[in-house]
Amino acid sequence: MDLNYNDEELAFRDEVRAFLKDKLPARIADKVKKQQRLTKEDMVEWHAILNDRGWLASAWPKEYGGAAWDAVQRNIFEEEACRAGAPRVVPFGIGMLAPVLMAFGSSEQCDHYLPRILDGTDWWCQGYSEPGAGSDLASLKTTAVREGDHYIVNGQKTWTTLGQHADWIFCLVRTSNEGKPQQGISFLLIDMATPGIEVRPIILLDGEHEVNEIFFDDVKVPVENLVGEENKGWTYAKYLLTHERTGTAGIGFSTEGLAQLKRIAKAQKKRGRPLAEDPLFAARMAKIEIDLAALRTTNLRVLQDAMSGAASPADSSMMKVKGTVIRQAINDLARRALGPHALPFVSEALDAGYNEPPIGPDYANPVAADYFNNRKLSIFAGSNEIQKNIISKLNGL
């Protein structure tokens, strides 16, 4: 057993570090570190920089323009990118649609869509959840009825993250009501510019617009936009869940969050001493740091198992649960650390270019809102309750 990166891995890490130091725009990193809002342009700019280096699609095979990194390399990149304050790569096209296209799409679909994902022509969003089908995805009701060369799509998707920026959406739609609910689902690519599509913002509890409802009213979708076979969409969607394990645990985010928490706890004073020295608060922080150090190793173990094919399907559920619990606990402590300064919240101050002096310490403004926003982590992407169901089921319960 060896806990340390080997020479090859260390060299790769240095390469990533040098690249980030060189190419990550300071303006963008500054926003990320200050937890300010990123614009669509910020994200597109960063994608382009990564794509120039051939690193945007880190997991894609080289033939499609990917970096073909293994799980450990992707993990190193994630850790370093988080540390440097790089924005997260928007995953919908790169990480979610592309693997499905490569595995189940036609070569025409791959040739057409994959380059456009890389060069930023198409911004994709994900059309899975519906108002009545959250954790229980198979009960989805959006229908696609074949009429000649087209499907006519009717229904409603929800929780569509960054859908307000999207050019295209990949959707799970119902093409049949026969058999089990899972059996009548198809995987469809839809141009957001098609008539009959309406995007309505959902404002979250912290006042942010990051998710949307999308309404489909007799939307005509050419049949060649079907991925794979009709009524097999459930299989393709499931494939994703087992395909992508890196990052489930959010180690990079937690590591950065913990570093930020420590800065706050050092800066905040309690009876004239840094809050970080308060026994109860220090114990709360240390507990999380201990948990995170363990989870980092669990994550690496799972990655190594995944590379050797020995991973259990329960692993990603475990990582999801513990990873989100830790991230949320870090958010919770950061909020607690602020004391009375957690209260003031100026939404406009989250935009770059806001020039008023801060109310309270300059790091304070986003913290409580961020805590509330990240309550989503244990709900979205398969709630933690669903993950525990999965774990117990895989153990024969």
């Binding site: 959840s129 009545g132 959250g134 954790s135 229980d136 009960s139 929800t158 929780w159 959902i202 404002i203 979250l204 509890l205 912290d206 006042g207 905040q268 004073k269 309690k270 009876r271 004239g272 809050l275 308060d278 109860l280 608060f281 909020r335 607690r336 602020l338 004391g339 009375p340 300064h341 957690a342 209260l343 003031p344 919240f345 100026v346 109310i359 309270g360 310490p361 409580a368 809102a369 805590y371 509330f372 309550r375 989503k376 244990s378 709900i379 979205f380 709630s383 933690n384 309750e385 525990k388």
Partner: protein
């Protein structure tokens, strides 16, 4: 031993309940919160008329209540409506006047009770965290009175007060309990600069700079102020904890309703045993919070040690239970519990932020330890 409400308090509670139910739907609340002052002057006037403000103060200053149980009864109902009007700010600042003011100064409370004058207590400072005795703001003796210089932060409703009660140090070191004085300060006085700001849970705070503010001798409230502040905060804690209890009840009732109607996998989610047990655990803790509120409200008029032990025990427990209820009710709702449009998350936000007022659970566990050892 008798845990039933008196008839007077029952009526008070019923009146507040009715008001919140009839006049204070969540859309109105958001509208009030989003306004310039962060609340409705009209509603405030109605509170005065109904006697809800008067219920916070004793008869000798023109009120008709002011005991722990009066506060508990009123604020529990306010909590159910997530009321944003500055009741808490005026309770605490008003208590200071009631406790330490001269006969003349106490006259002021008639206008407070009548809804004409709004008070706020400018006490917390950038480095005070939750330490009551931390006052860096200085009061320098001048010929005609005092000159105040310092920085007050996160002052609840400090941007809309007609009169500020300001704590400042006349002697001693920054964290000494001795040497703290209270002054009534006109927010429009020269040298006072106030920046208002919304809070994440729908309230308002003011950031207040005092740049050599000249005040006259007669605006000082009493003498040594620490004990007064502690006692006013005790009232504030009973009040804000009752508010939390009200919010918890609504949050759990909404959750129960949701558990009974929302389906997943073809089943009402309330059938899932995990949610049933977690719901039961919330209920148990909420009963604990209610009992703790009764203990503290019942001892608000007791001697310092008994009062403060129970008050800190309450705030610690409400901090813990509020956190549990906030996180669990959102989680049990899933996505819908994350949306602005739905009322629940606003209750969860308020419950969470109550832990940031008058000291959080860690602050108060330390106080309980200190008071138990004493």
């Amino acid at each position: 031993m008798d845990f039933s409400l008196t008839d007077d308090r029952r009526m008070l509670a019923d009146m507040a309940t009715r008001f919140v139910r009839e006049k204070y739907d969540i859309e109105s609340r958001h509208k009030f919160a989003a306004s310039d002052e962060g609340f409705s002057r009209e509603i405030w006037g109605e509170f005065a008329e109904l006697g809800l403000i008067g219920a916070l103060f004793g008869e000798d200053v023109g009120g008709f209540g002011g005991t722990g149980f009066d506060l508990a009864v009123v604020f529990e109902e306010l909590g159910k409506g997530l009321v944003v009007e500055p009741m808490l700010a005026n309770l605490v600042a008003g208590k200071l006047v009631e406790l330490a003011g001269s006969a003349e100064q106490k006259m002021l409370l008639e206008k407070v009770i009548g809804g004409e004058t709004l008070l706020a207590f400018a006490h917390s400072e950038p480095e005070s965290h939750y330490d009551l005795a931390h006052v860096a703001t200085g009061a320098e003796k001048t010929e005609k009175g005092w000159r105040l210089t310092g920085h007050k932060s996160a002052v609840l409703n400090g941007d809309s007060a007609d009169l500020l009660v300001v704590s400042a140090r006349v002697s001693g070191d920054v964290a000494d309990e001795e040497g703290i004085a209270l002054f009534l300060v006109n927010p429009h006085a020269k040298g006072v600069a106030i920046r208002g700001c919304p809070t994440v849970d729908g309230g308002r705070v003011g950031d207040i700079a005092l740049n050599g503010v000249e005040v006259s001798t007669h605006v000082r409230l009493g003498e040594e102020a620490f004990a007064t502040i502690e006692q006013a905060f005790a009232a504030g804690i009973v009040a804000v904890s009752a508010e939390a209890l009200g919010a918890m009840q609504v949050a759990t009732e909404m959750t129960l309703e949701y558990l009974k109607t929302r389906k997943q996998f073809g089943v009402i989610i309330g059938r899932f045993q995990v949610l049933q047990h977690r719901y039961a655990e919330m209920l148990i803790e909420i009963e604990q919070a209610r009992s703790s509120l009764i203990n503290a409200a019942g001892h608000l008029e007791s001697g310092r040690e008994l009062r403060e032990w129970n008050v800190s025990a309450l705030k610690n427990l409400v901090g813990r239970v509020g956190h549990l209820v906030a996180e669990e009710t959102i989680q049990m709702h899933g996505g819908i519990g994350m949306t602005w449009e739905y009322a629940l998350p606003h209750y969860a936000k308020r419950l969470t932020m109550i832990d940031h007022q008058f000291g959080d659970e860690d602050h108060h566990i330390e106080r309980v330890i200190a008071l138990s050892a004493g």
